[in-house]
């Protein structure tokens, strides 16, 4: 029998240990989902378990197309905000006309993919976790697997594909809008013409910068999908469990997006 003081120390440590173990479990599960999804994409047709185009297209509509308004609004706002901040910061040095350079790089490399990832995590990641969680507690996932329909192939792959394609697509859209909105402000504030601004943007950006942003966005898309599936498919305990899984899914995917961003930038720039 341990003394009470020992217990008081040991219990939080044990709890922490359990959490870490659960976290590692979830990571392993996420990795295995990614592997299985690749498998079904590669050999599904041969195994008479094809990944069909219709559900992928449907998911792309709901993940991508219907997110355009909100992505546009936020991207435009952030573009203007960056222009404001840039001009304000450069003014003391009399270097306002350098703002184009900073705005162009920070939008394409950082802000567009990041803001897109966060919006999609909140919209589609949450929806996916809630949908899978509800299916889990209604035995719908069990029903699939006793019907000869592999749940990963049928439910996970379409969402994963849609997110991997649509987050970069939205991010490119956000690039354009944010740069455009920033341009409107910069040109009116600094008395520059819009074509001159665009020339400045073109001079500042290399293809590598756009690719950097798009590649990150694709990673964010995959993270959103995997986190949502891991949380949704582990739901226990009714509607409350679904709510918890949804919240967890959003918090975890945004955290992972920011962390992945840091790691990616570190690896790409250092």
């Amino acid at each position: 029998m341990a003394a009470p003081e020992d217990r008081a120390v040991a219990r939080p440590i044990a709890a922490l240990g359990r959490r870490v173990a659960l976290g590692l479990d979830a990571v392993g599960y996420g990795a295995s989902l990614l592997g299985q999804s690749t498998y079904w994409l590669a050999v599904g047709r041969r195994k008479r378990q094809p990944v069909r185009a219709a559900p992928v297209a449907r998911e792309m509509m709901s993940v991508g197309v219907s997110a355009i308004p909100i992505v546009s609004v936020l991207a435009g706002t952030i573009g203007v905000m960056l222009a404001l901040q840039g001009i304000d910061a450069l003014e003391p040095f009399g270097a306002q006309d350098q703002v184009t350079f900073g705005v162009a790089l920070s939008i394409t490399r950082e802000f567009a993919p990041l803001i897109t990832g966060i919006i999609v995590a909140g919209r589609s990641g949450a929806a996916l976790a809630a949908r899978l969680g509800t299916m889990q507690i209604n035995n719908e996932i069990d029903a699939l697997s006793v019907m000869g329909i592999h749940p990963v192939r049928y439910l996970v792959v379409p969402s994963l594909l849609a997110l991997i394609v649509m987050v970069p697509a939205l991010s490119i859209w956000a690039d354009g809008l944010a740069l455009g909105a920033a341009g409107l402000y910069v040109t009116s504030d600094l008395g520059m013409t819009f074509p001159a601004y665009l020339d400045g943007v073109r001079a500042a950006l290399e293809p590598g910068d756009v690719i950097h942003g798009v590649a990150k966005a694709a990673i964010f898309g995959a993270l959103i999908a995997l986190v949502a599936v891991v949380n949704g498919s582990q739901v226990r305990g009714g509607a409350e469990g679904v709510g918890r899984a949804t919240t967890h899914s959003v918090v975890q995917s945004i955290t992972l997006i920011v962390l992945a961003d840091l790691i990616f930038v570190f690896a790409a720039t250092r």
């Binding site: 195994k47 008479r48 378990q49 949908r131 509800t134 299916m135 209604n138 035995n139 719908e140 069990d142 029903a143 697997s145 006793v146 019907m147 000869g148 329909i149 592999h150 049928y154």
Partner: protein, 279 residues
């Protein structure tokens, strides 16, 4: 349909389901303590037992939804416990399952639910599939409801739609968890008749979990009685009826009502304290 996956034993005594010494634990609790039973080709096997006796647990293991601590399960001559997910997915298209809760896909209409196995597993053209779907819905008295969503159906209708989905591929082996619980007597009786018709006309082997005694005796060829994770008896209807095992008779006569608790024990359960009997 699925008979090609069965083994090569002589037809008349072919065992379609074989369970040997199945032990199931959830955490520290042992739920099934070495269950053995089998189901012969073309018969209706009813699994009975009180609430919490482990019927659904047994079914979930038969369906590869969970892995037992030990024991063997063979379906249609195939070892199930050793299968991985891929093998199970390829195999399970030969089964039909109607879950206790229905488990219809809530984002799809009734018709789409019933069509799903056809769409996924056959190359039939759309109009043929729709005819088959309407036929099966008619069989469960749901003709005309194919465009409704599950949320627009009553509980009994959901069960029947799930039944239609389970039999759409004419499976060789059909599992039903509580098919008639919660249905009105007329519909329940018609589902019972349907089960018998599927057995007689299509030679389906059917495993039904139920605790409705009347229904059980109406449809069963043989009955397995589960009691707190043990098989009390697994035998023909007549043998079960005339069993002299007092626990079997108890269960049959009491119609699986909740046990009447011992007053002392009941008091201590309510108060959470232990009372010593004083005499």
């Amino acid at each position: 349909m699925a008979t090609d996956v069965a083994g090569g034993e002589p037809e008349h005594e072919q065992k379609v389901v074989e369970v040997e010494d199945l032990v199931v634990r959830y955490g520290d609790r042992e739920i099934l303590h070495g269950v053995s039973m089998d189901v012969r080709r073309g018969e209706v096997m009813v699994i009975m037992g009180g609430s919490g006796s482990g019927k659904s647990t047994l079914l979930r293991h038969l369906l590869h939804l969970e892995r037992p601590a030990s024991g063997r399960i063979r379906l249609l001559g195939h070892e199930v416990c050793g299968m991985d997910d891929l093998e199970w997915t390829a195999f399970s298209r030969h089964l039909g399952v109607a879950f206790q809760s229905g488990a219809l896909f809530s984002s799809m209409t009734v018709g789409e639910n019933v069509l799903l196995p056809l769409r996924e597993h056959t190359q039939l053209d759309e109009s043929t599939m729709e005819i088959m779907m309407r036929l099966k819905l008619e069989v469960v008295s749901l003709a005309g409801f194919e465009n409704l969503l599950p949320s627009e159906l009553s509980g009994g209708m959901i069960k029947r739609a799930a039944f239609a989905r389970a039999i759409i591929m004419d499976p060789a082996l059909l599992f039903c968890d509580e098919p008639s619980a919660g249905l009105d007597p007329v519909v329940a009786a018609s589902l019972d008749e349907l089960i018998l018709r599927l057995r007689d006309a299509l030679g389906m082997t059917i495993v039904v979990v139920t605790h409705e005694l009347d229904s059980a005796f109406r449809i069963a060829d043989r009955i397995t009685v589960l009691d707190r994770g043990h098989v009390l008896i697994s035998a023909s209807v007549d043998a079960v009826r005339s069993s002299d095992d007092p626990r079997v008779q108890d269960l049959l006569n009491r119609r699986f009502e909740e046990e009447v608790p011992d007053p002392e024990e009941y008091l201590s359960r309510l108060t959470g304290e232990r009372f010593e009997a004083v005499d």
